[in-house]
Amino acid sequence: MEEGQQSGGKVKKFMFLNRKAPYGTVYALESLEVVLITATFDQDVSVVFMDDGVFELVKGQNTKAIEMKNFSPTYRALDGYDVEKLFVERESMEARGLTEADLLVPVEVLSSAEMGQLMAEQDVVLSF
């Protein structure tokens, strides 16, 4: 592998695109694990929630009766990892009957068109 030659100083735009509901599948949880690791690489990280991914941010999750780990508090901790750009697509949020007040963390709400523009500016989009 010759990759080492290209490293050093390069900052890329990474988007993590979350489109799945939590608990029904593991994608939301394992996506968070990627975000936390990538944050240590000093890249330009955006985390996007659209479609059912918006459900990942809903307040008041209580997984006691399904005996899984409630990982939603981790979204509140992202700020501490310098992951500050969290975006939600308005159409997805509104179709699900949700408002920003229902969400665990402050987010920036974008229209579909704004979301499309943001995506097109990225170097890498990791989707889950």
Partner: protein
């Protein structure tokens, strides 16, 4: 007969297919990501129409996990796993709309 739907109505067409085929008097239980259909939002309309001819249940543990128990619409009966087992026992046929 008991229909079991575990898919989000926003992501997949499983609930639509179930409601197209389900016969009056059938029961439907929403589990896993399927419980989102039982809550306020664009997905609620189709369920509210269906509630006129079907008996509709949703699994409370899955609603609680997702933080949406307080958002359940009228016409849906909440059950725990014991209630889910009773529904299976009380219907001679059940089918999962995977």
């Amino acid at each position: 007969m008991l229909h079991i739907v575990n898919k989000s109505p926003y992501e997949k067409s499983a609930l639509d297919s179930c409601l197209r085929v389900a016969q009056p008097g059938n029961a439907l239980i929403l589990i896993e990501d399927g419980v989102y259909a039982a809550t306020r939002g664009a997905g609620a309309e189709k369920l509210q129409r269906a509630a006129a001819s079907l008996k509709i249940y949703a699994l409370a543990p899955d609603l609680e996990a997702r933080g949406i128990r307080e958002r359940v619409i009228d016409g849906v009966t909440l059950v725990d796993y014991a209630g889910f087992v009773d529904l299976v026992a009380n219907h001679s046929t059940n089918q999962s709309w995977l």
